[in-house]
Amino acid sequence: MDYFDRFAVPHPSPAIYASMVAIGLTMIAVVAGITYFKKWGYLWREWLTTVDHKRIGIMYILAALLMLFRGGVDALMMRAQTAIPDNGLLDGQHYNEVFTTHGVVMILFMAMPFIIGLMNIVTPLQIGARDVAFPRLNAVSFWLFFMGAMLFNISFVVGGSPDAGWTSYFPLASNDFSESVGSNYYAISLQIAGIGTLLTGINFIVTILKMRAPGMNLMKMPMFTWSILITNFIIVFAFPVLTVALALMTMDRLFGTQFFTMANGGSDMLWANLFWVWGHPEVYIVILPAFGIYSEIISTFARRNLYGYNSMVISMVAISTLSFIVWAHHFYTMGHGAMVNGIFSITTMAIAVPTGVKIFNWLFTLWKGKIVFTVPMLYSLAFIPIFTLGGVTGVMLAMASADYQYHNTMFLVVHFHYVLIPGTVFAVLAGFTYWWPKMFGFMLSEKIGKWSFWFITIGFNVTFFPMFITGLDGQARRMYTYSESTGYGPLNMLSFVGAIGLAIGFALIVYNIYWSTRYASRNISNDPWDARSLEWATHTPIPEYNFAVVPTVASTEAFWDAKKKGFKLFGGKVEKIHMPNNSGVPFIMSCIFFVWGFALVFSMWIIAIIATIGIFACMIHRSFEKDHGRYISVEEIEETENKLRGAK
């Protein structure tokens, strides 16, 4: 039995045991349900083996929504614990685990995949392509991310959660101070998911640079595609740093190397530097696509061209460059001297300039526009003032000398929630609602959507605004409790009330999906929002080849100009279309990656070696496989096209 002791949770509580039972029952229910409805074949053929960018995108979004609720429950637990002084709901260890997993899950397993999901669905359509450059690789990306996320999520019932914060600073995350396997889970699951993300980056750079429709030069691309291109460049140059940092961390923890140790020449601050050299660009990986989404939505619902297209592009490029030279602002208090702090202070503040340009561009787009208040537009309109508040507090934090006051307080926590929630979360919710009809062929209820919008926006401000005050007053982040005499009690209670509002808002989104799936009208046009870019020029639902004829583009707003000025989009003749074949190997290989990761977490070397061989076997199989794809014939295309046209 000793062998199995390692899988026990080191610091259990009734809630964790209850979760174990719940996870077990859910798994059994899912397997039983699929078997009962005989859906295994369907699941395998249509989803697990798919290489279609639209389906992969949908799977990304589903996984991201699941993770949103996992991270959301963590957040609620934190708010409940700190709602009253000296609360005993969670103890210190559990609180550490909860804020660690909240951070990791929300950034890496919610925000990133949600954005990558939208990017998968929309980008090839916006550039008039039939799929991404490497469809099979795209499936590998998704399944690696998914298995990484699953590996991370089982940590709290098998072996113990990571508890060193989402930044996992050394020496705290070393074996001396984090004895459980939790930090191994952190290093290895992020590594697996990170490889997937890197592959996505390569895939989309090639797709966008090489597969645009004829006539669409770079400066005619829709703004969302621009933001995705820049984001993927950041991914390709930032993620290798994370790969190395996590590998060094793994070696320190498993093989006794001395990278981040305190003795034998190691440097614990090296970790902080490596982490943030990746970590700060990561912030822009999740925010730039959000800017792209807002640009699309604001221009669609203000019924105006995007103001300042060129300056939008230039400012995004500027932000992406600056994002690589600001990392030390995360630890001004490390003590690297006035010179270094001064330089990083200036580069950080410089980011406010291109960001400000973008804010003004959106405002000028709205100026004199005929604004339609749909749910996506409401999120976009709420984003502008709230995000500005987050941005301005960012400039406050950028001032190195003042930062000694704010460092490690709730003020910092609110700052990044004020940028990430209206920035990324509102954007993905807006994009999700906006592109939903294109994905599924019906609209989400505007009425329920507006209710959830108001709950989320008001709930968000009620939750986080009080923390600006307690933060300036000195309330430290990551403290599981405080005494009554500090006076933080009432404002923290207010935060908890706001958090419940947020939770209701998110629950309403799920209800909206349920309600609309059952009752919403299927009789919608291909272009229900009267939108402007190419994804609305094809049918709803989208045929697997996206466009029967590749569109020809003559302006930035190709579809709008086709509608209003009579530009001809589809001039060519229907020809047979080459499509890639489905494959089960990406899924199988990622499952082996999961086993590999699990074995490494628990130092089970024999299983790890077998899994490594399995992974290489999958790659060798790919190398020797002859797969020339398949063709869809002209008759087949015309049949599909007539059917889709007839449905309208």
Partner: protein, 198 residues
């Protein structure tokens, strides 16, 4: 599949062109990866603790053998690609085999060198300097090892299937990878060994 006969075989289809371009982007990511490892090494190079320093460890003969093997292999793979462009299958395979043998020679010397280090009491656990040294060299060595397998499989495919757009595309991409390993070695040679011995 449309084949454009005005281009070399490895560039002749759309899919091939995408793959080559994609691999260049991947090499960009690899540069970021090795740059991080080099940065780590530079930060920790003086963190020798109680262990030996680079000056004490680095030897000229092993270094010269490794360098000669790897640089020559980069030349022979260039000859291999040249033969491939001329459509000479046997010469291509021959040069690829020579390349891999030289790569194997490099790897052999590197493993010998690692064993020597360990005998002198310099293990990956001894000091931060040695951790970063072994990791940097080891990552490069692991890339070479992977390349040996990869190259072998490509030779097998050329032999079996002939010089098709697919096989030449794979061979060309492999040659990019191999040249890249050479470039990384030049940096290791200069900034790890030479600088360490001075």
């Amino acid at each position: 599949m449309k084949i454009d006969n005005s281009l070399p075989l490895e560039y002749s289809t759309e899919e091939n062109r995408l793959k080559i371009f994609g691999f260049w982007i991947f090499l960009g990511a690899e540069i970021a990866l090795f740059a991080t490892l080099f940065a780590t090494y530079f930060v920790l190079v003086d963190g020798t603790g109680n262990g030996p320093t680079g000056e004490h460890l680095f030897k000229v003969p092993t270094l010269m053998f490794q360098t000669i093997f790897l640089l020559t292999s980069s030349f022979t793979i260039g000859l291999g690609i040249n033969a491939m462009r001329l459509g000479r299958q046997k010469a291509t395979i021959g040069f690829f085999i020579i390349t891999l043998i030289l790569g194997l020679g490099f790897l052999g010397v590197e493993i010998y060198e690692f064993v020597e280090y360990v005998h002198e009491g310099a293990t990956i656990q001894t000091s931060a300097f040695l951790s970063s040294l072994f990791t940097l060299l080891g990552t490069h060595g692991a890339h070479v090892t992977l390349g040996l397998f990869w190259g072998t499989f490509i030779i097998m495919q050329i032999k079996k299937r002939g010089m098709t757009p697919e096989t030449t595309n794979k061979a060309f991409i492999f040659s990019l990878y191999w040249h890249f390993l050479d470039v990384v070695w030049i940096f290791i040679f200069s900034f790890v060994y030479l600088k360490g011995m001075m």
